[in-house]
């Protein structure tokens, strides 16, 4: 099967609606089809990958740890927009430390998060063959 460049655009905060969780489900399915997958986190989507999420008080499943498994499925291009963080009073330090292991480099751990500005994000989006927005 031909490999295409897929991008999943995440624009919504987790838990308030089902979009974030559903997007993650589709991302994992796409990995099974060995596509070239990228994720974009813009607008409120940046809240999906904050560290220290604790959902005990709201009675919902905390699915943030699933993002840590994406590297094992060779999903290692997570583009995060700087402006979206800044508008929300956040920095990269507020995000989970998401990594993948490079089998071509003695399984060295490498960062999956790629910080980009708005115009760079537009460039990455323009390179994609299939874009799915959540």
């Amino acid at each position: 099967m031909a490999t295409k460049k897929f991008m999943f655009v995440n624009r919504k905060a987790p838990y308030g609606s089902v979009y974030a969780l559903e997007a993650l489900e589709v991302v994992l399915i796409s990995a099974a089809f060995e596509q070239d997958v990228s994720l974009a986190f813009i607008d409120d989507g940046v809240y999906q990958i904050t560290k220290g999420q604790n959902t005990d008080a709201i009675g919902q499943k905390n699915f943030s740890n699933t993002f840590k498994a994406l590297g094992d499925y060779e999903i290692n291009k997570l583009y995060v927009e700087k402006e979206s963080l800044e508008e929300r009073g956040l920095t990269q330090d507020d995000l989970m430390d998401l990594v993948w292991e490079d089998e071509d480099d003695d399984w060295a751990e490498k960062p999956s998060i790629i910080m980009v500005n708005r115009s760079e994000m537009a460039d990455v989006m323009a390179e994609q063959e299939v874009t799915l927005s959540f």
Binding site: R11, K12, A13, P14, Y15, G16, S17, D43, D44, Y47, T50, K51, G52, Q53, N54, T55, D56, A57, I58, Q60, N62, S64, E87, R88, G89, D94
Partner: protein, 102 residues
């Protein structure tokens, strides 16, 4: 007639929070729940708007919705009060009416 305004949408995504602030009156209370909880943080593009409203209104947030999104209470705007579901119930009792800004 004090009113409790309940907001559940992020101020960065929808205008419902801004519309609430534009319509709430002095002495009213505003409660942020679900995705609106992210509005409680200081140092955002929205925080000045909320601070202005706090001059004559009380502002609350459901603490559980804040921590679910990885945000700690010590980063909230000074004066915002974090409450739990029991506190939510108290607010509905203390105010004559409520309005949900969906």
């Amino acid at each position: 007639m004090a009113m409790l305004h309940i907001v559940n949408k992020s101020p960065f995504e929808k205008v419902s929070f801004r519309s609430c602030l534009n319509h709430a009156r002095a002495g009213d209370s505003i409660l942020m729940i679900e995705d609106a909880a992210v509005g409680a943080l200081d140092g955002t593009s929205f925080s000045d708007k909320l601070k202005t409203a706090m001059a004559d209104k009380s502002v609350y947030v459901l603490g559980g919705d804040l921590t679910a999104r990885g945000l700690s209470e010590d980063r909230m705007i000074d004066g915002v009060k974090a409450i739990d579901y029991a506190g939510f119930v108290d607010l509905t009792v203390e105010n004559e009416t409520t309005q949900s800004w969906l």
